[in-house]
Symmetry: C2
Subunit: 276 residues, 2 copies
């Protein structure tokens, strides 16, 4: 198990990782670094130590967790590359993995190692003030090794997320990006489009169904611009696939083929209810 | 205030209305009637009396609430027309109002009166066993009078939903159907389409965002087939409007115009967060 964790970017995810480590793994020293306010991270108890100097923050860590905004993860990997030490493992929390894993494997090389991660956790509020020690509890935590990955480094990253309460899943980074576009990026685009078509009169009569279906549209638009930009082709393909389903639904409905509408609804209801 | 309420169709909505009336309005005798099991409605405390004979159930009521499946509301209005009495008000809970209001106003005539209603409440479980006295608490309860409506009857229906804790809103029935397609029927179609495009690998890594956005897809496919059939043209128009928003989003994303993607996301996030 790790002894010295450095978190770059101590916001909702980085701060929650710090809180979780400190409550679930004993004797780990957690160092924070980043553009945000170190005092807030220290006050929240998410880190033991705050370094404004990146080199000082990274040196001596056995695990470096990059939890900055997704577009900054690649540049951060390049910046820390000169300071990694033998045996050090670097991972991240970015929502799209193919580009980050390529950058990480290019920058962080043996005898150090990079292994990508994507914990499927978040919340409507950003920042360390919203961080929670149980944020990863039960959450799918995807680890994305490649053929080039060091098995011991993969094991350390898996062990880390499992210790934080995550449900560890391994996926190829390219396949992960295709799948996460369906499971996470598409719901965000849909929720935003659903809000976009509303009028004062429809908003006035909204019920719980609208609240649920549109909830994620309230998320940070800066974060989501970056995620969509990082996973552009897969998001476009996911939206097109959804448009195909809507076309089928419309075709049945317009034709008055209510048996076909029922069969489609029934299949989705069964699939959704099987998830609990 | 009413003294004798008859509920035709004592399922989730009818049963909840019965429970709410009995807990919030004193001295109302509630009679139930319908295809479902009267013993369950009586045992749940949703009704005081069960009639298997429709005429006996309706006679003497000052308010008749039709809470059957939406496709049966029109036929029920025709069936009870011969037994309505002076001063009796009939309303319903159907999700689409234009056709029902036309049928109701044709069947139930002065000195009785029909006024349509649509309480925006429901749940994932159907039947009187899932009924709750607080189901309408804080829910938008739409009342859909027309130029032909008797003001006293409208007042009685408004007063009824307000007494059950609803937030009463008046809308023209035709306009209601257009707006409810946006606020309620579209979210259901979207949630089902979102489930339809998933794969085992994406389901495996789903997070809270997917759970929220897809939740309503688990609803009763029979109920939703009927709702879509009753509001066919408006649902088609709502899906097409949403497709227009998705096309705009895709266009910005495909062009690499991330500033435009941000502006669109930012506007929807502000609108969504303003709703609380």
């Amino acid at each position: 198990m790790i002894e010295r964790l450095t978190i770059l970017g101590v916001g909702l995810l980085g701060g929650s990782a710090g809180l979780a480590v400190k409550s679930k793994i004993k004797h780990v020293q957690v160092t924070g670094c980043g553009h945000s306010d170190g005092a807030a991270a220290l006050a929240a108890g998410a880190v033991d130590r705050w370094e404004t100097d990146l080199q000082a923050a990274v040196e001596g860590a056995d695990l470096v967790l990059i939890a900055t905004p997704v577009q900054v993860i690649g540049p951060s990997l390049t910046r820390i590359a000169d300071w990694v030490q033998p045996g050090m493992v670097v991972t991240d929390v970015g929502s799209a993995k193919a580009a980050i894993v390529a950058a990480g494997e290019a920058a962080i090389r043996s005898p150090a190692a990079f292994v990508g991660s994507h914990p499927m956790a978040g919340g409507s509020k950003a920042g360390v003030a919203a961080a929670r020690a149980d944020l990863f509890e039960g959450a799918a935590c995807v680890v994305t090794p490649t053929a080039a990955s060091d098995p011991a480094a993969v094991g350390r990253v898996r062990e880390f997320w499992a210790a934080l309460g995550g449900r560890v899943i391994e996926q190829d980074p390219v396949e992960h990006d295709r799948l996460v576009a369906l499971a996470s990026h598409l719901p965000h685009a849909l929720a935003a489009a659903l809000v976009a078509v509303q009028e004062p009169g429809s908003i006035d009569i909204r019920g719980k169904g609208f609240a649920d279906t549109s909830r994620v549209a309230g998320g940070d638009p800066n974060l989501w611009r970056e995620i969509f930009a990082m996973n552009r082709a897969n998001v476009l393909a996911a939206v097109e696939r959804l448009e195909g389903e809507l076309a089928t639904f419309k075709q049945h409905l317009a034709a008055g083929d209510d048996a076909a509408v029922f069969a489609w609804l029934d299949e989705q209801a069964k699939r959704r209810n099987a998830l609990g």
